[in-house]
Symmetry: C2
Subunit: 337 residues, 2 copies
């Protein structure tokens, strides 16, 4: 996440090749993409940001990219269709486009916050093989957007996992052009933050839900932890455990595997105090299993979406992680590129 | 790992149920197993160790276990066949038994170190869902075997991964009965340590090679790291990456995914100094890819066993991790118990 002092007019993105681990040539290629895009749009150089996503360690096929940039420049039009078209273009292993729009009114003027993201695999934040582009017509003159964006990202894009693999190429960009004629100030800040959170939260959810060959989205709500870091460690140990993820896939509410992952998470707790429930069905109360609820746990886990609540009874801290299951399809899909 | 002051006469182990997260009843059941086994063998109480492996969170079916213990006690015979029989009995999702024997001579007397292990899934040390039983006829009178065993375990049983899931029920036991009439002392210590390492190393290798539905064993040799912990972090990030493991399965020498995992391992390094080779075929030298070697990398990765060397050129520390690939079969096998 960077804060830009020079005006940014747009983004040029490619998929299929991450332009990562490509050394000096890679840097030069990114620079070329920015310059060619600016030229194609008739805008000053150094006003475009460059994003790439795809295979690591191979040079970009610059001939094709240059040709495409020249063609795109001529095709740029204003309006919503262009946003849709952009959202489709950035997809890689995604099966559907991911967009979200929020609006709010200030003194009869409408402010829009709109986001578009891609990401399906190599999803474990900080942040994931995901690109997210958020635009707004609020005026951010004199305001540092970076901490505002970071706050929204922390519990959305940074709180998801598909496969536990972090990425070389994760990006979230927030661009504001001021066209709404509404200023971001003390009177609009909280409303703007809420809209931004909503966009990030919705897009983060769509990324997990479109995880490579997944069948389930599981919301892990850890509460009563001694520290937020402890709560996060627990959520990530569970959400990244292959044995937990495969059991979700198999509709098996195997709380023993949750307890096992809790045990190796880097967090202090007393196993005899823990409550676990699947949805609103208790599986473990104060460390004691409620086996008669088993048919109901199974019903919860057989849904495409469900929530697991874990209360550590060790403090006040909490953490939410959105995780997916793990399927044979994921393995098959990723066994070669 | 515990050091026992009271004499231990044997081990009673069950598979299919881990007797973990079973509270007071679980503790009582373990005690009952020890007592019944001692009674069945006609030996004093408190001389048997108890090991369990299997599903977490369910009470042991004590009726069946008690019956089996009574029958086993009557069936105990001395000799190698019994060792074989024991090795078969402790298997769970293992497809084959895992045993190893080493001997050495001291003044015409033979010392034997023999081991038997089980483990195939939930394999990420400290230590793994593995049970390993090592017996020797050396006399360890007055010697603390614990640090000697720990030294052997650190770079063998604690340096393997199948799925990155640690276990509730990992155990390594070393029992010495002194029957060889050879004492463990300054003159025999190094030879004994070498034999013990060989047993642990061989059994650890067999556990990875029999990992649940795996097709490959990959030896990761990290060298030139700033610290051993840094080298271990790198090896584990790579060895537990779903994207790396699936690419091995697909015979895809995707060094980009190795670099990605290196990037999120908790270790300091300069990407432009790294050497990576598959077997003896360089893929990356000083951070620069050698694409002309690609056909040869592919050949290496298509083997059932291969080694990846990664030199960080950041120091002198090194670490070796044995890892497996990840297959659709693993997912299918673990989706329900």
């Amino acid at each position: 996440m960077l804060a830009s002092d020079t005006p940014v007019h747009g983004i040029v993105a490619n998929s299929g090749n991450a332009n990562a681990c490509t050394g000096e040539q890679g840097k030069a290629d990114a620079q070329t993409m920015a310059e060619q895009t600016a030229a194609a749009c008739g805008i000053e150089t150094d006003s475009f940001l460059v994003c790439s996503t795809g295979r690591i360690g191979e040079l970009l096929p610059m001939e094709g990219i240059s040709k495409a940039i020249a063609e795109s420049g001529a095709a740029v039009v204003e309006g919503a269709e262009d946003g849709e078209s952009f959202s489709n273009c950035i997809l890689t292993s995604d099966t559907r486009k991911k967009t979200c729009t929020a609006t709010f009114e200030v003194d009869g003027k409408t402010v829009t916050v709109a986001g578009s993201a891609k990401g399906a695999g190599m999803i474990q934040p900080n942040m994931a093989t995901m690109l997210a582009f958020i635009t707004t017509d609020i005026s951010s003159e004199g305001i540092d957007l970076k901490p505002i964006l970071l706050e929204a990202v922390t519990h959305t894009f940074n709180a998801i996992t598909v496969d536990g693999d972090m990425s070389t190429n994760d990006t979230v960009l927030l661009l504001a052009n001021g066209e709404s004629d509404v200023a971001l100030d003390d009177s609009t800040l909280e409303t703007f933050k809420a809209a931004l959170f909503q966009i990030c939260d919705n897009l983060a959810d769509k990324i997990v839900a479109d995880g490579e060959r997944i069948t389930k989205v599981v919301e892990l709500l850890i509460s009563g932890a001694d520290t937020e870091q402890g709560a996060e460690n627990i959520a990530r140990a569970i959400g990244n455990s292959l044995l937990v993820k495969t059991s979700w896939y198999g509709d098996d509410p195997n709380w023993g595997r949750l307890m096992d992952a809790l045990g190796y998470a880097d967090s202090e707790f007393d196993p005899e105090k823990i409550d676990i429930s699947y949805g609103d069905v208790p599986a473990l109360v104060s460390g004691t299993p409620i086996p008669e609820n088993k048919p109901k746990w199974k019903e919860v886990v057989s849904n495409r979406r469900f929530t697991i609540h874990i209360n550590m009874h060790a403090g006040e801290a909490k953490y939410r992680l959105r995780a997916s299951d793990l399927t044979e399809g994921y393995v098959d899909f990723n066994k070669s590129e």
